[in-house]
Each structure stands twice: as C-alpha cells, then as structure tokens.
Symmetry: C2
Subunit: 333 residues, 2 copies
C-alpha cells in the first residue's frame, strides 16, 4: 500500500472502531449490580456530562480524579475494621516471642480472648496493639505478613477471605470510571501499607493511587543492603480533616468525584464540592441487615451521624441505600 | 457491514497500524539530543530489554517506575536553586506589608541586596526566608503566586523563563520512557507545591507523580468554604535518606530506573538498585562550563562528592557527561 492509501485506510478503520465501541457501550449496562433509580442515574449522568466533548461540563481526562474511602465504601468494615482483626491475629501469632505480654495490658486480656477488657484502655490500648503489630520490621517484611494473613484469614460472618468481602457494585463503578478516563484513588483512614499489597489485584487500583494513614519509616543499610524500617511513630492520620490534606499531598489535584460512607469522609466530600465545575459527592448508607450489616449514627465503626446526614441533604450529596440501590452486594452472591 | 466482517476489518487495520507504528519507531532516533556513546546505549538497551515480551528481564508496564531528581537533573540549579531565587523575589514583593523586616535579619540584609550577610545566619536564616515566603497562605493562593512568578521571572545568566532552563535530552528521555509504558515520577528535594503548577506542561509529569519536600497544611473552613492553609512547619524533607522514604510513601513500589545528579540522590539510586531484576541507575555530571555550568565536589549546590563518584563506580551506575554525552543542552539552542 502506498502511504496515502494506508493512512486513509487506517483513518477509516479507526472511525469504524470508534462507532463500534460507542454502540457497544450504549447497549451494555456498565453498572449491572445497581438497581435503576436516582443513585445510579446520578452517577451515569455525571460521567456522561464530564466526558462529552463540547459539553459545558467537560473535564479533560487528566483532571478526572475520583477518590474512594475504603472501609465501608469499597469493602465491609463490620464487625470490626479488618485491619484491626489483622492486628488481633498478629498479637496471637507474635505472643510466643513476647513472653512479657502475659502480664502486660492490653496484650494479657487479648491473649485470654477478652477483647472488651483489652480495649478498656481506650485509644492508648488500640495504639499499643497497632504499633506492636505494625512497626519494628522492614516494609518488605510487613508486606509479606499482610499477604500471608489475607491468604488464609476469613471473615467471621461470611467465612470468606477478606478480599472477597468487597462490594460488587463498587467494583463495577471503579471499572466504569476508568473506562471513561477517570483515575481512581483510595483515600482511607486505614493503613496505606496494609492496603497496597492487594488493591491492584482486587480493585484495579495501583499502590501509587492509594492514600492512607501511615507510621514513619527510616532508611537503613543492613549488611550493605538498603531497607526501610517501620517505626512506632505516627506519620499521618488520613481521616476527617486529614483526607483533604492527604489528597493534596499525594494527588495535588482536587477530585471531581468522591465516595465515602461515614463521618470520616465529610471533609473529603466538602473539599471535592468546593472546586469549580461539575462534581459528584456520594455516601454509601449501610441499611441492609440481611445481606450485609445495618448501622449508622450509633455505630462506633463507620459512624454515619445525623450531622453528616444533614450535610448531605444541605449540599445535595447522593446517599446510596445498600438495601434499595444495590441488586447484589458481594461478588459471590 | 455485518459484525464478523466489521471485526475482521478492524483487526486487519489494527495490525497495519501496529506495523506502521513499529516501523516508524525503529527508524526515528528517540533521543536525538544525545550523542552516540555508552550512556545513550545503556539507556536504550535497558528500555529494550525490560519491554521485550519473553525476555528474562521483561517488566510488566505497571512496574515500570522511573524516578527523576529535578534540580540539576531535569532543569538547571545554578547560580542558585530556582526555588530560592523565587523566595528572594517574594521577600522583595512582600516587603511593603512587612515593615518590621527593615530591622530584622535575614530580611534587612536581603532587602539591601546583601545576600552574603543575609545568609550568614546559615540554615536558620534560610528556613526563615522559606517560611516567610512559602507559608501563611492557602494552597490555591500559593499555586497562583508560583505561576505568576514563573510567567515573568528570568534566569540571570540565560535571560530565559526558568521553565525553559530544562534539559532537552531529559525531555526526550521522559517522552521515550512513557512511550515505552514507563510511569515517570519526580523525586526532588525541592518543594512539592513549587513544582506541581508547571511539571505537567513542561515535563508531561502530572501533579500526582511529583514527590518533594513539603510544609504541613491544615484544613479550615473560611466563610463556609474549605481551604488548606500552609503552615510554617516542616512536613517532610525529600532528600538523601528521605528519597526512598518519599518514594515508598507516595509510590509504594520500587523504581527500576532512577536518575539524579548529586549527593542528595545517592540513597534513591541505592534503593532502586536493591530491587530484583534489571535496573538502571544514572547520574548527570555538570562539566560543561561553556553551555551550562561546571561544578562538582566543591559546589554547595548540587554537590557531586568523591564519595558519590566512588559509589557510582563500585555499583556500576552510569555517569553522564553533559559536555560529551549531550548534543544539545537547552531546548532553545
């Protein structure tokens, strides 16, 4: 083929391919696990208007930043944050090398199986448990510990690996957004290094797009080999007012879409909404005691307070009812 | 067209397009501003082997992380770090609203034009200048200040905007790596929010792929509108042992290619090299007093010490001579 012919031919084929793709996208439902209704419609309308060339709401792909909370938004968080269940398992696993824990709270009570007594020490006790199980090793070793735990541990209610206790409608939403040029980020109060070993495989979100709480690390040479050692010192708490700070530090751009489920997400949604142009702010509400859990203002984990509900109403944020808006909750259903 | 016909047609066209693209890539030199030699060859050989399907050194695209220092590696850093020149200009601009600076060091000397006297106060004086010019405003306001400065300020030697004082061979390298599926990151001792307003336009590196030093920020509601206020408190120093820490925190994956130019980059290169599989570590050496600047072990800015040189030799890192390896240094040449 001569060049001119070849170029015309390619151009023609590309147009065909585009038409074909568009047609297919119109026919297939990108969110099959979502019931038809206001929530689903608000998502699709938003994506269509920000991706439509020439629309007054058009947003260039580079600026299509979408941020998601993790616990209670992408995967379950009851009966306890999964990372805390991980910490409890680690206390048991590490107990043989810590004989002093037999007489030291909160470990003594934990090892006797008395969680309530262990947590009577409040935040200080929680922090001691977290640091004893999350610090002191290299980042590489910690990653392996997380992977090993996830490979064997099972959710107490569902008897499934924790990485299967993720919400099918949200997996579809993440894929739908990425297919429309969005960059999807996690912005979680959970530990950044507890999430990174598995988010790419489970959510399609690579480690560099995961933001979370962290402890400090220190560069060291061990036998001439560089390592990063995890220190028992808080580096950053990525919750409430920390979420916009974390977003700014890691992304440096304001999201145009943000998804959360609890009081910890309020400031992320406010920060998202305060930008110029079209925005979508959404909260998942856990109201399905049959298929998952029902909890709200009175829950210590994933609190959805009346203040948050009032904010959502005032600001026009979409509140998703898991019971009514989701046809399916978990991938295995 | 019926579906089967259309599909065959598209498949055929895509194959044609691929052949066409591959041929063009083989013919054109991706690094035209690099002289043929060991440095250029080592880069191309590395990229070819990690991107070749089936090669023992093949690296999946998601893991093709490349990190670059900024000052002295992607743009110039003499006669002073550009960010410090920005700070000096800001002191002058802000002086009318700070009458107390007339009698307060280091500002008093600075405003008299006596930089040496101003910097006699060492690190403490430097920090005071940085905080007085970088903190106290919102992130949005600071971004605008940086943009405004870059739009008018000119390099004292080259009489060009600072964003033109970037190295043409490195621009080509960044584009070449991205065309080969690499994700390019900046890992700089410079301020993260001083770089982000322009790196996408100048280097093609989006804000979320910029890592740097930072001050703390605080979420606040001002007239009901959320803002992030920049505080006069160090958050993170992304230099020397801080670089692997910053890479781990922001990327969560180890680079397979790292580029630096000074002692501040040694640990980033060590960290990169310590991973499994093929690696490329490179240092830019400033030895061209005619076209740019010549400096090394004795320079306070961008120190390239004998220790670093010895490390480079011992570890097989590539050292690039700007004089010999680069055909062209700046885009305007």
């Amino acid at each position: 083929m001569k060049n001119m012919h070849k170029n015309s031919f390619i151009a023609f084929a590309l147009v065909c391919a585009m038409v074909f793709t568009t047609t297919a996208a119109c026919v297939a439902d990108p969110l099959p696990s979502w019931n038809d209704g206001k929530a689903k419609r608000s998502i699709i309308e938003f994506v269509e208007k920000v991706t439509k060339q020439g629309s007054p709401d058009f947003v260039p792909p580079a600026e299509r930043i979408a941020t998601f909370d993790n616990d209670g938004t992408l995967w379950a968080e009851q009966p306890m944050y999964f990372q805390f269940l991980f910490a409890l398992d680690r206390v048991k696993a590490l107990a043989p090398t810590h004989p002093e824990w037999k007489d030291k709270e909160p470990f003594a009570s934990l090892l006797k199986g008395d969680l309530k007594a262990a947590l009577a020490g409040g935040e200080k006790a929680m922090l001691e448990i977290v640091m004893a199980t999350h610090a002191g090793m290299t980042t590489t070793d910690f990653e392996q510990v997380v992977k090993d735990w996830l490979a064997t541990a099972k959710h107490p209610n569902f008897n499934r690996p924790y990485t299967e206790c993720v919400y099918q409608p949200m997996l579809e939403l993440l894929a739908y957004l990425r297919a429309n040029g969005f960059k999807t980020f996690i912005v979680s109060g959970g530990g950044i290094e507890f999430m990174r070993p598995w988010t790419e495989k489970v959510y399609g979100i690579p480690p560099e797009q995961v933001i979370g709480s962290s402890i400090k690390t220190k560069f060291e040479l061990r036998d001439g080999k560089p390592v990063l050692v995890r220190l028992a010192e808080i580096n950053f708490i990525d919750d409430k007012t920390g979420k916009p700070v974390g977003i700014n530090e890691h992304i440096g751009r304001r999201p145009i879409l943000a998804f959360g489920n609890s009081d910890g997400d309020q400031q992320m949604l406010e920060w998202t909404q305060a930008g110029l142009g079209a925005r979508l702010m959404t909260l998942v509400y856990h109201d399905d005691a049959v298929r998952e859990f029902a909890y709200g203002a009175d829950s210590k984990i994933g609190t959805f307070s009346d203040v948050l509900l009032a904010e959502a109403k005032k600001n026009g944020w979409t509140v998703i009812s898991m019971k009514n808006d989701w046809k399916r909750i978990f991938p295995w259903e």
